[in-house]
Symmetry: C2
Subunit: 342 residues, 2 copies
C-alpha cells in the first residue's frame, strides 16, 4: 500500500465475493493507502492475507468509516441498508453489491462497459447489478447500441457460487454423498443441487416470476436506459461451481446480420467471442471460471423470427458477475474524479 | 410369458434404453409369448434377466426376425437402417428409437398422447421421436389443441443419459475425479460434464443450429402436423443423470389464460402439473427420474408478450423420453389392431 492511494473499506470481506475483491485489488494494483476490512462481530478478529500483510477484520460500527474514501460492500442487503448511509455520511463513496439500492432512482446501477456516465450523478451510493444482469448487459450492449433490442427471452444456467462460498462447498459435499449412496446435505439450498437443478428459489411475485428473474428485467432496463425493453427470463440453478451461462433470444426491429453481431462482440470490451464451429467448441463454465471477460458464442440467426438472434454466454459469477464489476466501478469513479483525491 | 402374447424382439437390449425397455415390458405386463434379445456380435452370448428367466442375447442376422410380430429397436441409426427393413420384410412391425427414419414421409413419428392416429398409415416402421421432442410435445399438445401455438423458443437442460449408460457412469467418474483434484476422464463427451455444462455437441448446420436443436424443430412440426410452427431451440448438456428439463417460451395468436393452461395440463394424459407456489417447489430432475409423467410447472403469462406463456418441464429421458414412449407406441399399435394377432 502506498501513501498516495485511496483509503478503502471492504464491508463483508469473508464471503466469496469479499475474498475475490481482495484478490482483485491486489491483481489490478488498485491505488490503496489503507485497506480496512469490516464485517459482523461474528467475523471480527479473524485475519485475511493481503499482499503479504495479515489484515484483521473489524466489527462494523458507527466509527468504522472515519477517513474512508471508498467502500466496497458485499455483506447482503440489510447490512448495506444499515451501514452505507453511515459511510456516506462519513464522506465515503460506496459501491454496493447487494440488491438493496439497485432500483432506487437516485442510485446509479452501473456496468462500466455500458453506462459509466451514470456514475456522474451519484449521491454516495452506486449499486453493482445482479450477476446475471451484468453478464447479459455486457454481452448485449454492443448490439443494442447499433440497433436497439426490442425483446429478450433469457434462460439461465446459474452456478452455486451465486448463493455464496458455503453453497459451493455444499454442492461438492452433495456430489460426494450421492457418489457414496448417501443422502446429500442441504443447508444453503432447499433441494440437492448436485446431479440435479431447480428453478431459482427466490420469492415469486404475483405474475409468477421470481426475484432473480425480475432483477434481470428491471436492472437491464435501468442500465440500458430502456424502460420499454421487453424481457422475460427463466432462472435456473445448476450444479456448476462458479460460472453462470445464459441462452439469450433477442428480437430487433430489423434483421441483425449475424456477421455484424460477431464482429461487434469480437471488438467490444469485457466480452470475448468464443466460437470454433468446426470443433463444436463454444463458451463453457469451466473456461469462463477465473476469466475477466464474458465469453459469448454460437451467435446465430433465429430461425423462428426474421429479426431474431440467438446467442449463448458464460461468465465468472464471482468476477465479472460481482467483485470485478464492483472494482471496475471503483476504478471508473476514480477516473472520472468522483472519489475525493487522497 | 403367455401363449397368447406377441413375439417381440428387442434390437440393442444392453444399452440404457434397452434395459429400460425390458423393465417396462415386465412392469406394464406387455402381452408376450416370446422375447428375443438381439444385439451386435460383441454382446451376443450375454444374458439379461427378465421375469425370472435369463435370456441370452443373440447376434442379429438375416434369420433373427423370423416369426417376430414386433421389434423394439434401440441400437443406433446405422443398425436400424441395416436391420429394420429386414424385419419388416419378415413381417414384423418395428418401433425405432433412432433418428434414422424419423423424418421419412412414410414413417409415422408418434407420441401416443398426441398423434396416435398417425400409426394407422404405417408401412412397417414407426419412429420414436427424440427425447427432448417427446417431452415438449406431450406437455404442449393440450395447449396447442385449444389454441395453436405460433412460436416456441426452447432452452434445454439435458442429462447425461441421452448419451447412453456409459455417459452416465462417466459423469459420476468425472465428479469423483474433480472432488479428488484429479483430471476428469472424458470418453463419451468431448469435455468434462461434471460441475460444467456445454452446448449439445451434435453436428451444426449452416444456420448454426445443432442436430439436436433441429430435431426439436422438425420432429415437433411433424408430430403436431404443423409445418409452419416456428421453433428455435438452444440445447445444452448439463451434469444431471437421467432427466431432461426444458424452459419453453410459447407464443399464441391470442392471449392464453394461465388458469386455463394450468387446468389443461392438470387434466392431460402423460403430464402432471407440479406447482407449489408457496413453497417455491416446481419440477426437478430428481423428482422426474423414474416417473412416467412429464412434470410441468411454473406456468406464467410472459411479461414480454401479451400472447405469450412461459413454462418449465422435467421428464425422465430414458422413460418417456425413449423407452416408455416406444412401449406405448407398441401398445397403441396393438390397441389399433396394427400388429398381426398371435
Amino acid at each position: 500500500m502506498g501513501s498516495q492511494g485511496y483509503r478503502v473499506a471492504i464491508l463483508g470481506a469473508t464471503g466469496a465475493v469479499g475474498t475475490e475483491l481482495l484478490e482483485l485489488l491486489a491483481e489490478r494494483k488498485f491505488p490503496l493507502s489503507e485497506l480496512r476490512l469490516l464485517a459482523s462481530s461474528r467475523s471480527a478478529g479473524q485475519t485475511l492475507a493481503f499482499q503479504g500483510d495479515n489484515l484483521t477484520i473489524q466489527a462494523v460500527g458507527h466509527d468504522s468509516f472515519a477517513g474512508i474514501d471508498l467502500v466496497l460492500a458485499s455483506a447482503g442487503g440489510s447490512i448495506s441498508q444499515n451501514w452505507l448511509p453511515v459511510a456516506v455520511q462519513a464522506g465515503a463513496v460506496c459501491v454496493d453489491n447487494s440488491s438493496a439500492f439497485r432500483m432506487a432512482p437516485d442510485v446509479p446501477l452501473v456496468v462500466p462497459e455500458v453506462n459509466p456516465a451514470d456514475l456522474d450523478h451519484h449521491q454516495g451510493i452506486i449499486a453493482n447489478p445482479n450477476c446475471t444482469t451484468i453478464l447479459m448487459t455486457v454481452a448485449l450492449w454492443p448490439l443494442h447500441q447499433v440497433q436497439p433490442i426490442q425483446r429478450i427471452i433469457a434462460a439461465t444456467y446459474q452456478s452455486a457460487s451465486g448463493a455464496g462460498a458455503r453453497a459451493m462447498a455444499e454442492v461438492k459435499a452433495q456430489a460426494q454423498a450421492i457418489l457414496n449412496n448417501k443422502t446429500p446435505p442441504t443447508e444453503s439450498f432447499p433441494y440437492p443441487l448436485a446431479f440435479n437443478l431447480f428453478l431459482h428459489n427466490t420469492p415469486i411475485n404475483a405474475q409468477g416470476y421470481c426475484q432473480e428473474e425480475m432483477k434481470m428485467v428491471n436492472e437491464t432496463r435501468k442500465i440500458f436506459h430502456a424502460p420499454g425493453l421487453r424481457i422475460s427470463a427463466t432462472c435456473v440453478r445448476v450444479p456448476v461451481l462458479r460460472a453462470h451461462s445464459e441462452a439469450l433470444n433477442l428480437e430487433f426491429e430489423q434483421p441483425f446480420p449475424v456477421t455484424q453481431a460477431r464482429e461487434l462482440i469480437a471488438q467490444a470490451p469485457g466480452v470475448k467471442l468464443v466460437e470454433n464451429w468446426e470443433n463444436n467448441y463454444f463458451p463453457m463454465p469451466i473456461d469462463a471460471t477465473g476469466q475477466d471477460d464474458v465469453l459469448v458464442g454460437r451467435i446465430r440467426q433465429d430461425i423462428s423470427h426474421p429479426n431474431g438472434l440467438e446467442l449463448w454466454l458464460c461468465g465468472d459469477q464471482i468476477r465479472k458477475g460481482a467483485a470485478l464489476n464492483a472494482v471496475q466501478i471503483a476504478e471508473a469513479l476514480i477516473e472520472r474524479g468522483l472519489v475525493k483525491t487522497p
